[in-house]
Symmetry: D2
């Protein structure tokens, strides 16, 4: 069953493995007339590249995007936009060991169970490099959304026990810190915490928050294609995400209705909510407030500490994973969460065009 | 944009409004040869009916299912199964008031924003009665899954501040308590808590957990159609759900990798995990362990306490919602969560049939 | 695999069998705000009912539509529109014979091969009554298209060897003749021909043409979702259709390019074509001319003449089909072709809303 | 709206323009475990390359396929297979003229109407080169089908007025003649006819037939996903196809039922049909006989003879298309028809896996 596509109207199809020739994505359904060049994509891809800091994996990939189709004279034509990034730095190294056992917390065992065998080099299709296609297409979605005044901002909210302080929110810090935190103090704290993790041959999880501003009321659907349902799928489809919250999320489940309902008020002739516990979505449809979601991400499963597992011969063995790995997934996943949210909101915006006869009359007269 | 269908291979399409003539569902793609009658469906529908206790809404609907197609001589034929439930007890009462303002926490405003107007009687399409189609089709999915030894068990895990104690887990209690808790002590406690909520003209949220046993390793997909991603969408598409967790969920995000990884072991010649922090899914694919998910559900938005809102004329007003409403959504949503999970797992099971050539050779020789 | 849905944005899902309780359709994705009542649907359904003439089957069904959801205060709400028609006049008669053998030209054998068994009463799901859902939803699509000045006209073009004469084209005759021919002379001729067929215990095929006026240039897609490709699928999905032509169709394949190309000209400041060999579609996209398609329909397979076949026990037998059957499928299929074409064009119109940024700016400013 | 994907379970997404950097396809949903290398693809691609004869376009492209993902150790892994072919020989030449007017019979005008502008170089996305992705993926589908004993054979049936004689059917000739005809005499005749066309600055149409052997009874669906409906869409989605026939096609519409029905007989304990007017499909489902379909293809619209048209400024002009063009589309489209048919049958085979509980029990025990 085809499972590498996301979206109905603006549909992206990703392909590629960690140690294959290249990874990429085909973006189909992009409206014609959007000004676009590879620089727009590269900015996003650069955000998912490892930084220069101690917490990042030493694999150095240029990750330069090539746009192969769908653009003419600087604008999208309506035809599919095919993009690829070549794998340049991988060494086909020695994977003979990893080929034979199942790493705890990885998809080795489940791939074998499903497909009968697997491309074990660097995780193959289950590698984090699969997100290259998501981010490249997310860059286009974000640019298109910005044409309608919609902007997305994702950032690291917590790393292990260290939370950001929203009072110190500093948008610029998201791109400038190694953690993706919008709070330089918390980030410095988190860096020290991560250094300790590494010393202890361990890893840790964290939380990414994404806020979306400028979404008009009315996007989404009342039943299965609820905007929050699609955001949940989008975000949970990112490897290592174990929980998704919308608005106040898990808190709402412990709260009284009188404290959880958001009142409606009038401001400048517009219906607005006086609070935003709902996170910008009511009944599956955007309410005009800021959309807020959080992704909870597990620790990097590759750790240097010895672990028990099983090999393909069915023997119980002790392993110690070699190579170097990030002690945390979160910072590099920030732009992935933002990209998946952008793809989801854009698809809802496009789907909404035919929600009422009145909209269609604006186009077809 | 069509948004009332769920599933790719086993696809359900629900329809109907709270105060329309009927609500129903068409189940398309059900394999031929499953023994099925209306009794199988009714058992599930009865689980979502209000109980006889103080915490339940007094609207009394028989909710008797009629199967209109797709069954012949007691078995599914492969043709679509159309089912409906008539709305019998609603009074078209006086909705003139509700028609003119936007209830906080409800979809009134967002429906108007999207469609230009709305069927305001009892919430129309956004009513909890929409779940009738989900549950009726979930009953079929569950029966089909049981043919492969897969069983689902959903229950109330917490109501407001009251959590169940897994040491007292009593499967029978799920169906026998008014709360859907598998712990009679916690349930009694929660009933008292809910009685207090009602006295205070308030409502409260809670958490539903669903465990799925017997799922073979290998169901799901590595990228966008991850089993956990589809479960997240399925569950988040239920009205009032604000967060979804898989396995240890939000806890995993605060944990070290050495504590979060599940080791593989051999038991009776089978690869098993010694713990199940992952909740039965690795890399988007089932790993053969129990699948565990949780839905966090907000408090009933309809409360008797006075609230501020806005009417269609753009005036700020104070309202006090009339009628009677459950002080909690959770107990009646238990079977809805179970149904959505069943639909998702079944679709993954069907999709997996063609995952490897070897499977197809078993069918086509 | 779900196979009873058609369309992406305006999606219809039909259900029901010839001798079940009812047949129906769920229309999902209909824009809100269309004025609609059951009369709009009934007009279409009445066109597929057998007439009072000698050439029609004597099964008399009222085929009265019930709309169960999706309409409020006379307008579509954007929610799914569920419609059903009850089967009233069938006798569960004696199907013991038909249950055991495979009628030539019918789907009896192929259903058994696919599903292992079948609902043999009156053809079950493969009955012509399955088209009730197509026609009921086609009525809505047609009404919606008429809001944009798009109108469809289908008619019988030939019956056996008798062709209409376009010089005598009389639109009113389509609804008034028993043949659906827009030429009263040809129709009278065809009626005599059909009477002869019946005397000879035989049946005959024919051709339906459908023209679509007012389609703006630009609907459709350049690759797999070509407007003609979707029309071909739509029409070929009607039982008994064996060929589909667009524009000059099979003639084009014998022709020189210099005779087949349509020149562009300017008329009233509009780009138009001086001829229309292409049938209104170039490169899969509507060109603003009249769209023309033809469906070639095989003779009714149920004939009274003795035929050879095989029974379920694998014995070769001679059969003689009882009951009464139309000697031709064509007249009752006219409105089915028109409906399927309407569904296809409407879906293309809705899909086109996001084809260029400029369209979206008209909606979202 | 995304329109560059075909198939539900085995889904292909093509991309690329005539004069872009490359063209390609992503094949998603291919079962794991199929032995595959680029040679399997190249054989198919070579069949769509222009020959060395007088009737072929002089554009010489190597059209060498690169497989970028989805294969490991010589077998498909279940991950998407990304393939591309670079455009090497095009000259960005002088398209200033063509950029400004609408060529009769081409998609120039309709692209502008839909998207607001177009990539006019060599037809852009509407170029015949778009079929590279279809053929590359069709090669995989064909190889997979051959694992189940299903084989496809497409060939040129007629060119202008010259038909093949089935008595002289010579399978080898399909690949060896410049026309793709399985009849060397007819092919020689057709070559002379085409030489005359070219002398007269003209082009001509023709017919491709495709037969599919070894399809088991039971593939397809009874309603919208009929096997013949999907074949019709598949074939009509190829540029220049104006009609599609299944089995006896248009002939069936003029015939009596007694002559059109195929009797069932027993041969070697198998149910077979004594004739095959139906072309191997009954009620939308394969009946175990040979599947037969025909595509009717219009003449090449690019001709050297002067033609009337309109430019973007809205002026009526006379044009004379330069460059060199094949006088017929048919021979190079043979492998495209075969590929589209293969994709369709394979998708039906995969979809059928879950048609009955019995099939699923073979996989899941």
């Amino acid at each position: 069953m085809a499972g590498s596509s996301f979206g109905n109207i603006f549909r992206v199809t990703t392909w590629g493995e960690s140690h294959g020739i290249a990874l990429g994505v085909v973006v189909d359904g992009c409206p014609a007339g959007l000004s676009l060049d590879s620089g727009d994509i590269q900015v996003f891809l650069d955000r998912r590249k490892p930084g220069q800091t101690k917490i990042a994996t030493p694999r150095k990939e240029a990750d330069e995007v090539e746009i192969l189709s769908g653009i003419f004279e600087g604008r999208t034509t309506g035809a599919p936009i095919s993009m690829l990034v070549r794998n340049t730095s991988h060494h086909s190294a020695d994977y003979s060991e990893i080929a034979n056992y199942y790493r705890p917390g990885h998809a080795d065992y489940t791939f074998d169970a499903k497909y009968g065998f697997r491309d074990y080099r660097g995780g193959g299709r289950s590698s984090g490099r699969e997100t290259i296609g998501r981010v490249a297409s997310g860059a286009i979605a974000s640019k298109l959304l910005s044409e309608f005044g919609i902007t997305l901002t994702a950032y690291t909210k917590s790393i292990g026990p260290i939370d950001i302080d929203m009072e110190r929110f500093d948008r610029q810090a998201i791109l400038e810190t190694s953690t993706g935190m919008p709070d330089r103090e918390a980030s410095a704290h988190a860096e020290r915490y991560l250094a300790d993790c590494m010393k202890e041959y361990d890893s840790v999880g964290g939380v990414i928050e994404c806020v979306i501003d400028g979404v008009p009321a009315g996007l989404g659907d009342p039943v299965f294609e609820k905007l929050d349902a699609n955001l949940a799928k989008a975000v949970m489809s990112i490897g290592a995400v174990k929980a998704v919250e919308i608005g106040d999320g898990v808190e709402a489940a412990r709260r009284r209705g009188s404290k959880n309902n958001d009142s409606f008020r009038m401001v400048d002739g517009q219906v607005v909510k006086s609070t935003n516990h709902a996170g910008g979505i009511l009944g599956g449809i955007s309410d005009g407030s800021q959309i807020v979601l959080r992704a909870h991400i597990k620790p990097t499963p590759s750790i240097f500490s010895p672990q028990q597992t099983v090999n393909k011969a069915g023997e119980e063995i002790d392993i110690s994973i070699k190579g170097r790995h990030d002690p945390i997934i979160v910072p590099r996943a920030v732009v992935v969460v933002e990209s998946m949210a952008a793809l989801t909101v854009l698809d809802a915006l496009l789907a909404n065009a035919g929600a009422k006869l009145e909209n269609l009359k604006k186009i077809y007269g």
